[in-house]
């Protein structure tokens, strides 16, 4: 535990601070605070999941700007998968499978073909927007609702319980996914190898690690998380599919990833920060406590992010080989 805190000082301090502030508000107004945080976390969930996709990719040296498209395809697949099979659980699996396929596409294009990684991602985004729009069929509804699950004991903690531990499947899983990704990247053999591939692929190669295979595998598997994010959006958050459902969240997730310094817990903190400031903006609009046009109130999350980044965090260093195809001569 102590080690954990030491390893992750910045995110832990940030999250701790947020928690303390949240509880202060909680004692002032229980209902408002809880509901604002529920909104904030709900908003953060797809951003966190998508940021994990970005982090896994970049930690392995592959920039994934196609998260937006990967999520959109998965959202589409999970929704229509549910509709067609009549079962949301099968739909979820179809969504995750779609994510895997999209991840696999990026892997083949960016790793195997050594294509410019940004271009490969942009292609995914355009294709996804085009296809999901082209094949969209209106008037369909989900066969059933995603059940809300309460985790015993944890869900009874005031404030934190209802916010984090009383949720749909994907929202619930997200916290654990973040912890798992964090553990995997920094504590496992897979993580060590992946990071070496993302930092200095030729060193990894010289140490006998198959750079191409590690990259292919990670980028593909990360696609599954994009699948979870897409399925969350369609099945849990919106309960439907709409054209352009992801609405730029894939790009926002990249910002979150950088904000969080390519660190899963950092991304969690950044996404919560962003989600909660979005929620606060909507609450300020609803309460009309301050008399400024809603357009300005709603700038809060964006302006805050810029301020925090320029005042506090400063320069962060991406994984050294992110964006560079690994070419073996000869």
């Amino acid at each position: 535990m102590l080690d954990f805190i030491k390893d992750n000082r910045k995110p832990v301090i940030t999250l701790g601070l947020v928690t303390v502030i949240a509880y202060v508000f909680y004692f002032l107004d229980e209902i408002k605070t809880t509901s604002v945080l529920v909104f904030g976390w709900g908003y953060a969930v797809p951003l966190v999941l998508a940021a994990m996709v970005g982090i896994i990719g970049e930690r392995t040296g592959v920039v994934n700007i196609g998260i937006e498209g990967q999520m959109l395809m998965s959202a589409f697949a999970s929704f229509f998968g549910s509709v067609i099979t009549g079962n949301i659980y099968i739909g979820m699996l179809i969504g995750i499978a779609a994510g895997l396929i999209m991840g696999g596409f990026l892997a083949v294009a960016a790793v195997k073909w050594e294509m410019d990684q940004i271009i490969a991602g942009v292609v995914i985004n355009i294709v996804a927007a085009g296809l999901t729009s082209f094949f969209y069929a209106p008037g369909k509804t989900l066969p059933q609702l995603v059940p809300v699950v309460s985790i015993p004991i944890l869900s009874d903690i005031p404030l934190i319980g209802p916010v984090f531990f009383r949720n749909g499947i994907f929202a619930l899983a997200t916290l654990f996914i973040v912890l798992a990704v964090n553990f995997a990247i920094f504590k496992t053999r897979w993580g060590l190898r992946s990071r070496s591939v993302g930092e200095y692929p030729s060193a990894a190669d010289a140490a006998g690690i198959n750079v191409t295979r590690v990259r292919m595998m990670n980028v593909t598997l990360a696609g599954a998380l994009a699948g979870c994010a897409g399925a969350f959006l369609a099945l849990e958050a919106a309960g439907t599919f709409a054209r352009g459902l992801t609405a730029g969240r894939g790009f926002l997730a990249l910002a979150i990833m950088i904000f969080g310094a390519w660190n899963p817990l950092g991304a969690l903190a950044a996404a919560l920060f962003f989600g909660i400031s979005t929620a606060i903006a909507s609450q300020l609009q609803a309460d009309e406590v301050i008399n400024i046009p809603q357009q300005f109130v709603n700038l809060l999350p964006f302006v805050m992010t810029l301020i925090v980044l320029s005042v506090a965090v400063g320069r962060v260093r991406p994984p050294a080989a992110a964006g560079q195809p690994y070419t073996k001569e000869g």
Binding site: I118, F134, L254, F296, F302, L309
Partner: protein
């Protein structure tokens, strides 16, 4: 080897040497074939569909004008992204810069009233360029002096621009007695004319494109940009001021996007309305990548996108195929231009490896 064989070889050699031209053309061709299959699956003859697009976009005078009109801001947005890429900056914010500039030039076109025609146009264009440049400049300064990554800052600045403009056109600058969020029309003196089917803005865009290309390839300033983009350590060693380059790179990039927005306002829409410029900045990314960050190549890339978009409506009218098919065509083209598969298939061992266009997250 016989004489004819040598001749054959020379002919093939011509194609091998000009791969950078052959591959995109082949890519477009293959994309249209694949797209044709999709169209065929919808029960429509692909040839009819493509004829609908091109007869509208190229062989109809109104359509041709619209093709040029659509191409114009795309050239400039593509250039904006290209210039960024050359300095190692990934400007996702061309959209925000373009729309801020569109409003700025509209305001200049409306509220400056005592200028003669040509001067008024110049001033209004200039206002757009300045505002676009400054909006991007914020990201440049944040990056140079506070280390804020331009990908984050430009994404945030896009949203901030949308919010501020929304407020401005629903309040202080809204057209009186109008429930639409939009400004008044610009004065006649600020209008950029069309010359036959060619908008004056298009000519301007082409000139700027040539200038930027010349600047990047032939001038010392361009050498500075390229060096920073290719190796920032060597650039520092070579005495190039990195901070200054980051800021000027963003200013130039934003100024180009801004010019796109200004031309759009003064030459096509004549006023500012938030929905007018939707997606142009993001198309700019596609175009810059399609052109492989080569300024001159943004012209054909933008013409391709402009043509498909101009012909899209006619496609639906004639065949019932949804206009989104156009994006699928573009995506396939981009994929084939950038992935080595096509070149490998065409040229086997002689395929040239094209260098990366982007440097990941810049540097």
């Amino acid at each position: 080897m016989t004489l004819t064989e040598t001749k054959m070889d020379n002919k093939i050699g011509f194609f091998v040497r000009n791969q950078s031209i052959v591959v995109p053309i082949a890519a477009i061709f293959v994309a249209f074939v694949l797209g044709g299959i999709l169209i065929f699956l919808q029960g429509v003859n692909p040839l009819v569909a493509y004829r609908a697009i091109f007869s509208e976009a190229w062989f109809d005078s109104d359509g041709l004008l619209r093709t040029f009109q659509k191409t114009t801001p795309l050239v400039l947005a593509g250039l904006a992204v290209t210039v960024g890429l050359r300095v190692g900056l990934f400007n996702i914010g061309a959209q925000g810069q373009l729309i801020s500039a569109a409003l700025a030039s509209a305001l200049a076109g409306i509220y400056i009233t005592n200028l003669p025609p040509i001067l008024h146009v110049i001033v209004a264009l200039f206002c757009g360029v300045i505002v676009g440049a400054l909006w991007a400049g914020i990201a440049g300064v944040l990056k140079a002096y506070r280390g804020v990554h331009e990908v984050i800052s430009t994404i945030m600045l896009n949203s901030i621009a949308i919010g501020i403009l929304d407020y401005l056109v629903s309040n202080p600058f809204q057209e009186p007695d109008q429930s639409l969020q939009r400004t008044k029309k610009i004065a006649e003196t600020a209008v950029l004319p069309n010359i036959g089917v060619i908008p004056f803005g298009f000519i301007l865009a082409i000139i700027i494109c040539l200038l930027v290309s010349w600047m990047l390839n032939k001038t010392t300033a361009g050498f500075r940009f390229n060096t920073v983009g290719k190796n920032k350590f060597a650039a520092t060693y070579a005495g190039i001021n990195m901070k200054l380059m980051v800021v000027t790179g963003m200013l130039l990039s934003g100024g180009l996007a801004g010019l796109g927005g200004a031309i759009e306002t003064l030459g096509i829409t004549y006023r500012f309305e938030p929905a007018f410029n939707a997606g142009l900045g993001f198309d700019g990314i596609t175009i810059a990548l399609l052109a492989r960050a080569n300024p001159l190549a943004t012209i054909p890339a933008a013409i391709l996108v402009g043509t498909l978009r101009a012909g899209g409506a006619s496609l639906q009218f004639e065949t019932g195929i949804e206009p989104e098919i156009v994006d699928v065509l573009l995506a396939i083209t981009l994929l084939l231009v950038s992935a080595p598969i096509l070149a490998k298939y065409l040229f086997k061992g002689k395929a040239q490896k094209s260098a990366n266009v982007t440097s990941g997250w810049g540097n």
